[in-house]
Amino acid sequence: MEFLFYFGDVFTPVNFALLLVGTIGGLILGATPGLSPTMAVALLIPFTFKLEPAQGLILLGAAYTSTVAGGAVSAILLKIPGAPANIATTLDGHTMAQNGEGARALQLSFLASAIGGVFGVLLLIFLTPLLAQWALAFGPSHLFWLAILGVTVIGSLDSASVVKGLLSGCIGLWLATIGFDDIMGAQRFIFHPSLGGGINIIAALIGLFAIPQVITMFAKGRSGDGAEVIKVQKHSIRKAIAEIIRRPRALGIGTAIGSIIGLIPGVGGQIAGLVAYDQAKKFSPEYAKFGTGHSEGVIAAEAANNAMVGPSLVPLLTLSIPGSPTAAVLLGGLLIHGIFPGTDLFDNHPDVAWTFINSMLIGQILMCIFGLYVAGMAARIAQVPQSVMAAVVLGLAVFGSYSVQSSMGDVYVMASLGVMMYFLERFGFSAAPLVLGLILGPIAEANFIQGSMIASATDGLGPYFMTGTLNIVLIVLIAASVAYSAAMELRNRRTTSKEDLMI
């Protein structure tokens, strides 16, 4: 309950002003393609040099929470996920926007973000010591199985058929091997200098999602319905709130999965949204509606990616280990003021620690209010004619992929992956499983090699990977997931094979 004593500090004029600046600025930065939460926080660090420690952290904390939510804006309206966390949001969110429900999708995503986010921060406040143990429980063998569990999701994610889903997942896994391998020191598939550092995930995201869409828009040209203007239906906030309340399952699954997976160092943030989306789909009676602009998809994905924010800071605040790139940047923001995260932070600087955490709590709510306001305006973007829209998206795609590491190489990677994806989409493949492969490949590989190095020095591969409660639980989950996908595929085949034959 200690945090309540420091609530007043959030509302001093200067602190509250910084909170507002961080929140609004974060929303704008988050909505800009290519500016991931990590980048946004890193850009703000120099401004905190001159501020008091608590004030600096308020700014950074507010920016972190609202960039994660802001990423939904470009994901829904432009189909460019700002960060890996927003990939799942594009699946149903952008379809909703195409159906003229952009305002509704944005409202739902901000409400779900705020609820998930507040829950995540409350977990951080009340359960930190317990969560710290959980974050440490995942060794190389467990992370390997967790990544494999993610791979099993690939088949059922946003694809017409499991086989095509798995195939595009494999393309993603192959792309992930490009670059310099840190563990064995080998160079792999570096056939062009811009691939030296591997394929940057943000640049790949932008290319895979935005470029096929741009080409489609250009291909329509001025003829036919090319100049069609999408109607945007107004959607009242009250209706959106009512809808959120009617969807407790998606909200609950999103929040729970985001909080649990967000905690695992190095893995969580990137896949929380996708895993939550997939689980919400599997548990929903309206299974078939996912991917066609179904509100549960948006709610689960956005609740998950904001629920992850609070728990993702647990390893940093308690153990002084940054569990994600963003946490590493926040660590810099603390160190510059001579504050060491860990016991030192909570014992000697409780005012800083709790003001920071409280500001994230208030920040979630402010973010929701501004987000809902923005939702009304931003949805008009869909009224822009497609030819203009295509040019704008293309410009943003080039800007976004360049700005990640100020490298033209990333722009080439973005463009070539995008053109490749355009043709793949023609044959019924989709981008989401490919990206999931790209994210999970390195996690699975690095942890398998590390695990096998440890195993061969100690008790051997079999016992290391196959024994222990956590390993067995994960293996069982993998088996269940594979069996579920196989069963669904068989059932679908039985029902659809006749129609396929007719075509």
């Binding site: 990590t38 980048m39 926080v41 890193a42 660090i45 120099p46 040099f49 440490l136 429980a137 995942f138 060794g139 190389p140 670059g179 310099f180 840190d182 563990i183 064995m184 020191g185 160079q187 200098p193 030296g196 550092g197 591997g198 160092p265 190095g266 390893p315 308690t318 153990l319 002084s320 280990i321 940054p322 790139p325 963003t326 590493a328 940047v329 926040l330 660590l331 810099g332 160190l335 510059i336 003021h337 001579g338 060491f340 995260p341 860990g342 016991t343 030192d344 590491q405 100020s406 490298s407 390195p442 690095a446 590390q450 190095m453 440890i454 061969s456 020095a457 100690t458």
Partner: protein, 322 residues
């Protein structure tokens, strides 16, 4: 008329003359960029931002230094770019990490060697330390070596990747003690290697002194030895490897500093070599660096040239067998 032309010609000659001499005198007349070959928020990036924050002052360069991150492949992407793509006009500097870039150039596959760059000055030194979890039975390097002798190849210890300071320290410890241990390189830098130690995934680890200092303050680890010639001011109670009978020198110490590409005009190099160490010595820089637990070690251009050459020689011997 003739006089006038002659005067004009003289003036023109004088002008061009001063122009070429002024290249160094006017330098810098616009903001300078500094490439850091690691991501934003990492230790190198963080320190680079601190040591360059006073660059705009009159007693320093008089122009701000902007940081440009080019991360990837353990620094290779950034340094390759710096060695091949950059104009050698003094407006693009880079941060170096020794022994990383020297070890990489020895192992090959990159487009640079120590001869591709001209050092300007060194700002910091972060020695490698040997760490174990708080509940570990090991209390000194002697315990570690004794265990490794009894169980050859079975003592697992983590570090941030291959051919970085941690790996060099690991190789030196194994060589000095005459034992075989299992070095586990992690992906995700020193933080991932530290997590492996705290969580008990491995029995021990090599890590940065600054990160280990913080982790010890948080009560998570014990620090058994420092791989440097002297004890650190941050850890006066931790003995060096040498004091514990292991012949490990400072070859693994992570030196960070500023360099320019080969071919930069000598006048500009001289000017930078003169002003940059003064910029590092600024009191504000010192207090910010120390607050973060990072030790300042300022070395001038000549000292760095010597250090690079010495490191090149040691690392060639150490890595020859790999």
């Amino acid at each position: 008329m003739r006089k006038l032309i002659a005067a004009a010609a003289m003036a023109a000659i004088a002008l061009t003359g001063t122009a070429s001499a002024d290249e160094a005198a006017d330098y810098p007349d616009r903001p300078v960029m500094m490439m850091v070959s690691y991501g934003a928020g990492g230790a190198t990036d963080f320190q680079a931002r601190i040591v360059t924050m006073t660059a705009g002052n009159e007693d320093a360069l008089g122009m701000p230094i902007a940081i440009l991150n080019k991360p990837g492949a353990g620094g290779r992407v950034g340094w390759n770019w710096f060695a091949t793509q950059v104009d050698a006009d003094g407006y693009t500097l880079a941060a170096y990490n020794v022994p990383h870039f020297i070890a990489q150039s020895i192992k090959g596959g990159v487009e640079y060697t120590t001869d591709s760059f001209e050092p300007i000055a060194n700002w910091g030194a972060d020695p490698a330390v040997f760490v174990v979890a708080t509940d570990s039975p090991f209390n000194s390097m002697a315990d570690v070596v004794a265990y490794a002798k009894e169980n050859p190849g079975k003592l697992t210890f983590s570090g941030a990747g291959l051919f970085v300071g941690h790996h060099i320290a690991a190789l030196q410890i194994e060589k000095a003690a005459g034992v075989k241990m299992a070095y586990i390189p992690t992906k995700g830098g020193g933080a991932a290697a530290m997590k492996a130690v705290i969580a008990g995934d491995v029995l021990g680890g090599v890590n940065n002194l600054s990160d280990a200092f913080r982790a010890r303050e948080a009560g998570n680890i014990k620090i058994l030895g420092v791989a440097d010639l002297e004890r650190s001011d941050f850890l006066p109670d931790v003995p060096t490897m040498k004091e514990q009978g292991l012949d490990v020198d400072n070859a693994s110490v992570n030196f960070r500093g500023i360099m320019v590409p080969k071919g930069t005009p000598q006048g500009i190099i001289d000017k930078l070599a003169e002003t940059v160490p003064v910029m590092f010595a600024n009191a504000r820089v010192k207090s910010k660096m120390e607050a973060g637990g990072s030790a300042i070690r300022i070395m001038n251009r000549d000292e760095v040239i010597e250090m690079w050459a010495a490191r090149d020689k040691t690392l060639k011997e150490l890595l020859a067998g790999l």
